[in-house]
Amino acid sequence: MIKVENVSKTFYAPHEVHALQNVSCQVDKGEVVVIIGPSGSGKSTLLRCLNRLEHADSGHIYIDGIDILDRKTNINTVRAEVGMVFQSFNLFPHKTVFENVTLAQQVVRKRGRAEAEKKAMTLLEKVGIPDKAGVYPDQLSGGQQQRVAIARALAMDPKVMLFDEPTSALDPEMIGEVLDVMKALAKEGMTMVVVTHEMGFAREVADRVIFMDDGTIVEVGTPEHFFKNPTHKRTQLFLNQIL
């Protein structure tokens, strides 16, 4: 489903940072991959490279067989198949919850109004807030906003969902409701790549865990392997610090 080959990315401003160095990995269809690592390790950059919000400097990234770093690729058609959920939700504040979920369906997927609205209602029920359809995002709690953001991404019927620290900006009591939605999604067989600090989620839901540090992938393995007996010293150190 996703194939990353020797991807590198360097930021030059404000100062030179080698965010990704020769990273290669793979995500199969229906797989849930969790990326963990200390801050600044490049895990968010890797995720953002997967739908070209960051343009990788070199290497190849294939989404469903399409090389998104190829100049001839129309990135918009690829992005429509790749849903993304952000740390800071990024809901459209001038549109209601309902319009947030219908907008891209109508603009990008060219769905009719009735079809888009039906889809939006189904998804809002799925994430548990159909009663908030008519309100504006700033009247919702963080957890509710993030669930709307998930519904907004799902409305495009994506093949892959990317989660960029979806619970990091939430109050602790709201983390659960967002993780529940994500778990349900994983159970349905959605292909997911999740950058998170929620080790519980990684242990429970992930098929594989990728540990990154300093712009490289240090270790890849199943959650059991990872949390019971990690091989690398760096991984052990990290897990000791957070667990």
């Binding site: 992005r79 849903g83 993304m84 809901l91 504040p93 001038h94 907008l103 891209a104 603009v107």
Partner: protein, 333 residues
């Protein structure tokens, strides 16, 4: 909202309010007595005629012949003149008919006189100022929007053109720009038109062009700042859903930016209305030019310049009320 100022007691509040009105009143009194000292006679009653006045209209015969009959119509009296070349009917409202049935008249003879209300020169000037400002605002918004988007474009041709335009316009006086539009570009364009046998463009067009192009540069910077003030997560969210850049701009960024740029935009357009007073120098008879003409005929400059200022205030205040209304309407939740 945080209460930054100290709460005044009821009594001292009324005391200071009185101080304010007394201050205003004594300033006006001071001005009045100062003008009396220089022997200026205030004649406010002379002002209204420049807004609306009664004009005498003389109805004259076009043909030679005899007044056949005078019929009292519903709205006006009808005088029918019949001559060797045919018959004509003349409408004369009111009673002042200067001919009788059977009179023989020649072309140019006065048949009757009536009075008609006419729009005065000040009101004409006000209307022209309003018209020029409105057209310039509309084109200013269009130019500003396009240039503002070009300004943040990654394409150097677009970006550098926008920067050059903005810096050129903002770096030179409007008065000079008006001269360039009228005396340089105007001369070239009108000469070229004349050579091709086409009609000349009136000064009004060059006036509107200079104001619109001038305002456009400022609007462009306002638009740029407005767009850049929207969090980049909004663009990322829109693009991550598969929207193209123009789609994201149209549906996500610009509607949010619009709300933020309304207040500075209003300030810009209030300036534009006031700047339109410069157009008098290229023979556009807007409010200031009209006032100047009235001053030379009436010899009452003090009253008229105050009236002129007040009329501008009416326009700018009206605009800022309209923008406040728009702001209230666009602010959701």
């Amino acid at each position: 909202m945080a209460q930054a100022t100290k709460q005044l007691s009821r009594r001292s509040y009324f005391f200071w309010a009185t101080v304010f009105f007394l201050g205003i009143f004594s300033l006006m009194a001071l001005l009045y007595f100062a003008t009396r000292k220089v022997d200026y006679v205030w004649r406010w009653y002379r002002v209204p005629q420049y807004f609306y006045y009664k004009d005498k209209v003389e109805v004259r015969s076009q043909i030679e012949g005899q007044v056949e009959k005078i019929v009292a119509g519903q709205k006006a009296n009808v005088v029918v003149v019949t001559g060797p070349d045919g018959s004509e009917e003349y409408q004369i409202p009111g009673k002042d008919i200067r001919v009788g049935e059977g009179d023989y008249i020649y072309p140019g003879d006065i048949l009757g006189v009536h009075q008609k209300w006419k729009v005065g020169i000040l009101l004409q000037g006000l209307w022209l100022t309003l018209k020029v400002s409105l057209i310039s605002i509309i084109f200013g918004i269009l130019i500003g929007l396009i240039v503002g988007l070009a300004r943040i474009s990654a394409n150097p041709a677009l970006k550098w053109s926008a920067i050059t335009y903005i810096e050129l316009i903002r770096g030179s006086p409007l008065l000079v720009q008006i001269f360039i539009w009228y005396f340089v570009l105007g001369t070239v364009i009108n000469t070229l038109l004349a050579k091709n046998g086409m009609a000349q463009l009136p000064p009004l067009w060059f006036g509107v062009a200079s104001l619109a192009v001038f305002a456009g540069a400022y609007v462009a910077e306002i638009v740029r700042a407005g767009i850049q003030s929207i969090h980049r997560g909004q663009m990322e969210a829109a693009r991550s859903l598969g929207m193209t850049y123009p789609q994201a701009m149209r549906h996500v960024i610009l509607p949010q930016a619009f709300r933020r740029i309304l207040p500075p935009l209003a300030g810009q357009f209030i300036s534009l209305i006031k700047d339109s007073s410069l157009l008098g120098i290229i023979a556009i008879r807007e409010l200031t030019k009209a006032t100047r003409e009235v001053v030379t005929t009436s010899l009452q400059p003090f009253e008229l310049w105050f009236v002129c200022a007040l009329l501008y205030l009416v326009l700018t205040f009206g605009l800022s009320m309209f923008v406040q209304y728009l702001e209230r309407r666009t602010v959701v939740s």
